[in-house]
Symmetry: C2
């Protein structure tokens, strides 16, 4: 299954170029498992989810170590029928095999509980889009909304939940469990082989953080 | 239909706070038509699409006038079954009434052709997510993918198309037609009353722009 992300890193400081170039160095240990291409708006990273999310974490934590107010934006996708498949995307470990919603929520929360902290506090917000799933019920809440509601149940059990917002859910905590929470939301909800997209924003060192 | 956006503005300069506060002033003429709420990650703007996109344009063009490298990220949504309806979202003008794909592509391109330039060059990339539409065909390309492919046909006729990327499409041009193109993609594709989301990134003054 083809999976990857378009990443944009925004350090809000005069020396943003130096911060970005330094942060890209944090991707080095991941390069054998990812295909990376850059233009003036974003960097494409293609690879399996279990490499994508830790690579994003390492990139962002390195940038945030500058103590500049930094924001990472990620457009993440798996299973898009319009993308070619790529051998680099084959998962190296068994992915969640589906299961009932309650089982998936519990398993995902269990994996986040095992995530190592990295010593950097972040805020994040994201939206999850399970595509190609019909609305199943008359009130319009079936299909993709059932997966979204199940994901929100998981988020509330993740230890990183801050609050529901319009169009997205906000997380706060150490970057280790926060990026693990994003990874679990992306892989455990929506059909295992379905087309799922995520729109995520992660912020550190904001002068207006609560 | 409930519609709105979570907006994050990122000026990559030491004085980013002053640039953001000044840019928010550009939203003043739109305040009667929008509900606006801010936290440390984003600003929620609720209102009809015909106010949302010009308001985003004015916010971003004001920030870019600082000549700092600025990026706007927008998570835009309409028709989400999980959101309450809000009277402020009622469209003030007739929205596209659907029609065949070829008719919608031509009508949307015609409206972009009438968009006024504002004198600021930008790059943009975005993804469109028509939700709750089942895959209709055995090759997985029906339903939501048919709407996405139709939207890409429109983008190629918009005058702002730069190239297709993995997971998104990239635009380049004057901010006037570029934001008009985003508005048309959001309103003319996906079911007229369906749940549609957009993930958009707009960039100006990039030192690495082509």
């Amino acid at each position: 299954m083809f999976s990857g992300a378009q990443l944009s890193l925004h350090p809000m400081r005069d020396d943003f170029i130096a911060i970005i170039l330094d942060a890209i160095g944090a991707l080095e240990p991941w390069r054998s498992r990812l295909r990376i291409e850059t233009d003036d708006v974003s960097t494409l990273v293609v690879g399996p989810p279990e490499a994508l999310f830790p690579a994003m974490r390492d990139l962002f934590v390195r940038a945030a170590a500058s103590e500049a107010h930094c924001v990472l934006h990620a457009t993440v996708s798996r299973g898009c029928p319009g993308e070619p498949d790529d051998p680099i995307c084959a998962p190296g470990a068994a992915r969640p095999a589906g299961g009932s919603m309650a089982e998936r929520v519990a398993a995902a929360a269990g994996r986040v509980a095992g995530a190592q902290p990295v010593g950097r506090s972040v805020a994040a917000q994201f939206s999850l889009y399970p595509l190609g799933a019909a609305d199943a019920s008359a009130d319009g809440m079936g299909g993709h909304m059932a997966e979204i509601m199940g994901c929100i149940d998981f988020l509330k059990a993740s230890g990183c939940f801050e609050r529901s917002k319009n169009f997205c859910t906000k997380l706060r905590g150490d970057a280790g469990p926060v990026f693990a929470t994003l990874a679990e939301a992306f892989t455990s909800f929506g059909a295992p082989d379905g087309h799922v997209a995520m729109d995520a924003t992660v912020s550190a060192n904001s002068p207006s953080a609560a």
